[in-house]
């Protein structure tokens, strides 16, 4: 995606449409009569995508079909973090959600880069951390505190993994990553 606009059957007469200036009602240019909604393309400046495996050429595999391919196509720049970096993706690894390197600007090795969310096939969401996140999201003060602890107060990714990813998760996946 990332094409200039797409027609959509739907949404006419909704209050959602009143709040969106990127969706308008337009006349079908071919029959000159029928009306439908036309949605402007979303073109993010940068997309950051975490994947299971990427190769040194910038090819990326999320291991299963996922919407991130559309996101990579639509975005001006794409940064990928990956659990594992290999020399070259195998044909099997390139199945499912495959993002060819032509869309990708940079790849970084970041084991547990999805934490506290999960990474399909490798680890699930960290439910205890997720509960803390939800609680912290209640107001600005508690969220600022959350950011200080988990984002601003962290030296680098390794420091984050060391301090916040549950210890019993680490050894096996680390081994895969190396």
């Amino acid at each position: 995606m990332g094409v200039p606009y797409v027609p959509i059957v739907g949404l006419v007469g909704t209050d959602l449409l009143k709040r969106r200036d990127d969706m308008v009602i337009a006349v079908d240019p071919f029959d000159g009569r029928t009306k439908s909604v036309v949605a402007k393309a979303l073109r993010p400046d940068v997309a950051i995508i975490h994947a299971q495996v990427a190769d040194r050429h910038g090819n990326v595999s999320c291991g299963y079909d996922a919407e991130v391919v559309i996101l990579a196509e639509a975005s001006k720049h794409v940064i990928v973090t990956a659990e594992r970096i290999v020399d070259r993706l195998t044909e099997k690894e390139a199945a499912g959600a495959f993002i060819p390197s032509i869309h990708v600007d940079a790849v970084a090795h970041a084991p547990f880069g999805a934490h506290p969310a999960g990474c399909f096939g490798l680890y699930g969401p960290d439910k205890i951390h997720m509960r803390q996140y939800v609680a912290a999201s209640k107001d600005d003060a508690s969220f600022a505190e959350y950011l200080q602890t988990y984002v601003h107060g962290v030296r680098d990714h390794d420091d984050y993994v060391e301090r916040f990813v549950p210890r019993d998760w680490r050894q096996p996946v680390r081994a895969i990553g190396q």
Binding site: V9, L11, G13, T14, D15, L16, K35
Partner: protein
């Protein structure tokens, strides 16, 4: 025969499914999922089912589902809303008289606002039939029942289903009309708990769940949902009486 409101709704939804059509429901749709599987087991063996976030889904991502609906290939969709109004509009977004300052917000949903127009028929259901859920006008239109004739639309709402009554959508008038009242309720009961005019009758009685519908729902469908991980916990707790649950 004894049955729960949940079982009644699943059975009423199953009756809307037509054989050979593609019928679907979205995420967090336990009752429609049970209804779809029940229909396939009873009267619609050739129905194609799409139960999002389950094994009953030919697609891995939402893009092919979106375009299937956009092409007009979806025969039936089930959707729910916190409010449903007499014009067939439903609200899944927010409550309160001032749209800029809602008293409560819900997850909303783009999907329904597209599928309501793209599916050939949509059945909107609600687990609560009260004056706060069936209203004269919704606080926020997430999807509109009617649209001007020059708007491209593949389909319309066909029915609204609650634990107390069925309404059918009158396309010409753009209004929900009381269609049938479920067993154990009267027209006066429905008038009492509905926030819009339901007419003066006479109105027919909805056929009660049959022995076969209940037995298949409680045994075959409950088992199937547990075995396939399709709202398994919900199926275990919500379908069947104590005897079937122990099995």
């Amino acid at each position: 025969m004894e049955y729960s409101e949940t079982e009644l709704l699943a059975i009423l939804l199953s009756r809307e499914v037509r054989d050979g059509e593609i019928s679907a429901c979205g995420a967090l749709s336990q009752i429609p999922a049970a209804g779809l599987l029940l229909a396939q087991a009873l009267h619609a063996p050739n129905a194609e089912l799409i139960i999002l976030n389950s094994v009953f889904n030919p697609f891995h991502t939402s893009k092919p589902f979106h375009f299937l609906a956009q092409r007009g290939e979806l025969g039936l969709f089930f959707v729910s809303g916190v409010q449903i109004d007499r014009h067939g509009n439903y609200n899944l977004h927010q409550l309160g008289p001032d749209p800029e300052h809602p008293t409560i917000r819900f997850p909303g949903g783009y999907g329904g606002g597209m599928i309501y127009y793209a599916a050939r028929r949509t059945v909107v259901f609600r687990t609560e039939h009260t004056r706060r859920s069936l209203v004269e006008k919704v606080d926020y239109i997430s999807a509109a029942g009617g649209t001007p004739p020059d708007v491209l639309r593949h389909g319309h709402p066909s029915k609204a289903v609650t634990p107390k009554a069925n309404f059918r959508f009158d396309r010409d008038a753009g209004l929900l009309r009381l269609d049938s009242v479920h067993p154990a309720y009267t027209l006066d009961d429905i008038r009492e708990c509905t926030g819009f005019d339901v007419g003066t009758g006479p109105v027919s009685t909805t056929p009660a769940p049959t022995t076969e519908e209940l037995a298949v729902l409680r045994q075959v469908i409950r088992r199937k949902m547990i075995d396939t991980g399709t709202y398994a916990e919900w199926a275990r707790k919500s379908l069947g009486d104590e005897a079937t649950r122990a099995a």
